[in-house]
Amino acid sequence: MTSGSAPTPSAPVKAGGGLRTLLLGKAGARTRRRWVDYAFIAAFGVLLLITATVSDVFFTQRNLSNLLRQAVTNGLLSLGMLVVILTGGIDLAVGSVVALTAVMVSGLSDRGMPLFLAILICLVVGVAAGAVNGFFIARFKLQPFIVTLATMGAIRGLVFVYSDIPITPSDPAFRAVLGAGFIGPFPVSALIMLATYPIVWFFLTRAKAGRAIVAIGGNEEAVRLAGISVTWHIFLAYMISGLFSALAGVILASRLGIAQPSVGSGFELDAIAACVIGGAILGGGGGSTFGTLAGVVSLGMIDNLLNLFNVQSYYQQIFKGVIILVAVLARRKQR
């Protein structure tokens, strides 16, 4: 081994080696990672089982479709967030973009603009917001955290400039299709959300740009020296996040039937949490669409279950915090 290949000298002392060896044998981090996944799935199963026996409401169609509809916003945001996290970045502005597009789509359709046009405009606005983030981050090599922190505040301001009171569109079609529509037993909004996952999966695993994005999070300089434009792909990642935020905003406005200018604050945290629970590594180098979906569903389920058991929402937050910590701890990189 050359010295270059050896990890940094600040070596943590190997702790708890005995227990791990007992559980896993001598296999390396790879087996361990898989073990963590199985443990999560198992914990999930146990949770479901307990719920099924204790609550007779959970497995009703009504509750399950509710659960799905509530998971739509976070599902879309997390997917965009995943793409950004894979490049090694972060997008704190997603919640503000949700508010902007929610308020805009309500406002535009309330003034008589055809719904599809209003939606289209909002999606373009979302992409544009992402482009602003991407431009500063990719072109000037600014820190994603700072840039999106700035735009998070600025876009929120913009929302209040557009309307400082909630907007309730009178057009019944506005609610009917996206927010309240069903195909068979499935809510339309949930189907849209679920459909985006295989698309992004395909993009990240099969498309040229997707592979580049994944690789950038692993080693930006190596990607650049392989003749791939790092600037363009980082820019692209933030635009994708912007697009999904806008989609989430439009659907949210439609589901609630009212657009509050304050909506969406704190949404970025849930999205980051879902990605991390699903195995994403902040700073790039890990994360999958399937894992993220699992993160979204488990977060949604926790909310749903605690609601069913009438647990106060403050406790829900504590519980979520604990779960995120456990998830990160379990996936902690070993050497």
């Binding site: 081994m1 050359t2 010295s3 270059g4 290949s5 050896a6 990890p7 000298p9 600040s10 070596a11 002392v13 190997k14 390396g28 099969r206 498309a207 040229k208 740009a209 592979r211 580049a212 994944v214 690789a215 999070g217 692993g218 080693n219 300089e221 190596a222 990607v223 650049r224 020296l225 392989a226 003749g227 791939i228 434009s229 180098g285 890990g286």
Partner: protein, 500 residues
């Protein structure tokens, strides 16, 4: 080995991601000796001393210091036991002063509690530097502003600021001038007099023979043997290190064509190099030798578009090109294998498949979607040609050995339509068997018409592979030698600026 030796390492093993870096090494050394540890790149020298200094945990084995079992779990604990190491990569804090770096953790307090007595601190740092013969370093200066060789001396000063029982010097000479090296040797002898065990890691044999009392040779993670300099010679040591003689390493080359493919004229970059002109013929291997910091790598990066240059011209097949980015250079048919594959050659968390096809995504995809079949076939073909092991396309680059990683980087470039291949230290950190394979690949590529610029700081490599050799010193080309004219002495003298 004798049981009475001051330092005893028994059965030391260590592996990284499945690569066995050390296997059952029994090493011992006495107090008050200078013990050199020698071996090829990748032999395990650095790993062994990093285990001793607590920077790396060992997988198996035990360490005895003065007959007592020592637990060296962290650098801090090793330090308290009197073991200190100076690594190839520095552990200085670049934006603090020389004084703060030397006295880190033991700055003298002023009368006001919690405050530093700066006058005293600077004085003490100066004393330390003077006592070990390193003069001419301003202790008030911020480390970042020092030359690399001065940084190395500060690093050493920091290590010997307290009394040490064991001092590890890992390739200390790489960045030092001859005069500075002499001072270092004087210091080493002084420490030896005081009873310190100095472990001196180096693959430069002349140096090792000059300073060491005993020499231990490692090869492929195993200890080959320990010899005394007066009872041995360089040839024996090379054979111990490499396992074969030099003649068996380099392939027979076919002579290059006459047609010039790449021409570099008056290339210059402020602060790095200037007046660089050379040409590269089809099928030629052009060696470029120079000491660290001579500007070789910058020249390569500029031709490849990874860095901008200020003046000059690069012509490929008669057309002037001016690559502003690696992207443009790759399109023109230039490839660069960088000197540090882990830093900027590979995406370690990605698979062989991804890494190998990274530079040719463009040609492998249609409508932005990668054609998996074509990708699989092409990568598989390169993996077989270069004998990358294991030949599993979904294996992560991180899990490969150094040699296979290097072949993977080569595969990446061979999948492009490269006409010019710039190789910056292509065999750094790979085992001898892989070296031989890489030399054969280079030779075959050249025979197939590829133009190769081979940058290396290993003289045997330059001499064994090149049709011509260029020498760089301080940002300028100072010599060009035909294969027949060149020898180790001539190239080294030219690179160091010494007339013979």
């Amino acid at each position: 080995m004798s049981d009475s030796d001051f330092l005893q390492m028994r059965g030391i093993s260590k592996s990284f991601d499945g690569t066995q870096a050390l296997l059952g090494v029994d090493f011992s050394a006495e107090a008050g000796e200078v013990h050199a540890i020698s071996g090829e790149n990748g032999a395990g020298k650095s790993t062994l001393v990093k285990i001793l200094s607590g920077a790396l945990p060992r997988d198996a084995g035990e360490i005895l210091l003065a007959g007592e079992r020592a637990e060296l779990g962290t650098p801090d604990r090793a330090r308290r036991l009197g073991i200190c190491a100076v690594y190839q990569e520095f552990s200085l804090v670049p934006h603090l002063t020389v004084t703060e770096n030397i006295l880190m953790g033991q700055m003298p307090s002023a009368r006001v509690p919690g405050c530093v007595d700066w006058a005293k601190a600077h004085r003490r740092a100066e004393e330390i530097l003077q006592s070990i013969g390193f003069v001419g370093i301003d202790v008030h200066k911020v480390v970042r502003q020092l030359s690399v060789s001065h940084q190395q001396m500060v690093e050493i000063a920091k290590a010997v600021a307290e009394r040490r029982r064991v001092l590890i010097l890992d390739e200390p000479s790489a960045v030092l001038s001859q005069e500075e090296l002499d001072r270092l040797f004087a210091l080493v002898r002084q420490l030896k007099q005081e009873g310190t065990l100095v472990l001196y890691i180096s693959h430069r044999l002349d140096e090792v023979f000059e300073i060491a009392d005993r020499i231990t040779v490692l090869k492929d993670g195993r200890l080959v043997g320990t010899v005394k300099p007066q009872e041995s010679d360089q040839n024996q040591l090379i054979k111990m290190m490499v396992g074969r003689t030099l003649g068996e390493i380099f392939p027979t080359r076919t002579p290059p064509g006459a047609e010039v493919a790449l021409e570099v004229r008056d290339l210059a970059k402020e602060g790095s190099f200037s007046d660089i002109s050379f040409s590269l013929r089809r099928g030629e291997v052009l060696g470029m030798f120079g000491l660290v910091g001579s500007g070789r790598t910058q020249v390569a990066r500029c031709i490849f578009g990874a860095e901008p240059f200020d003046a000059g011209e690069v012509r490929l097949d008669g057309n002037s090109i001016h690559p502003r980015s690696p992207r443009e250079a790759v399109r023109e048919g230039i490839a660069l294998l960088t000197e540090d594959r882990k830093r900027d050659g590979l995406v370690l968390i990605c698979t062989i498949r991804d890494n190998a096809s990274m530079a040719s995504f463009e040609s492998l995809s249609r409508w932005g979607v990668i054609d998996r079949r074509a990708q699989e076939a092409k990568v598989q073909q390169k993996v077989q040609e270069l004998d990358i092991r294991p030949p599993l396309l979904d294996r992560l680059a991180r899990q490969l050995s150094g040699g296979n990683q290097q072949k993977l980087v080569l595969a990446k470039w061979l999948m492009t339509r490269a006409k010019v291949l710039i190789l910056d230290e292509p065999t750094r950190g790979v085992d001898v068997a892989t070296k031989v394979e890489i030399y054969q690949i280079i030779s075959d590529l050249a025979a197939g018409g590829m133009c190769i610029l081979l940058i290396s700081s290993e003289l045997p490599e330059i001499l064994g592979m090149s049709d011509r050799a260029l020498v760089m010193r301080e940002g300028r080309l100072v010599g060009e030698f035909a294969r027949a004219q060149a020898s180790e002495e001539i190239l080294l003298a030219s690179a160091a600026g010494v007339s013979q």
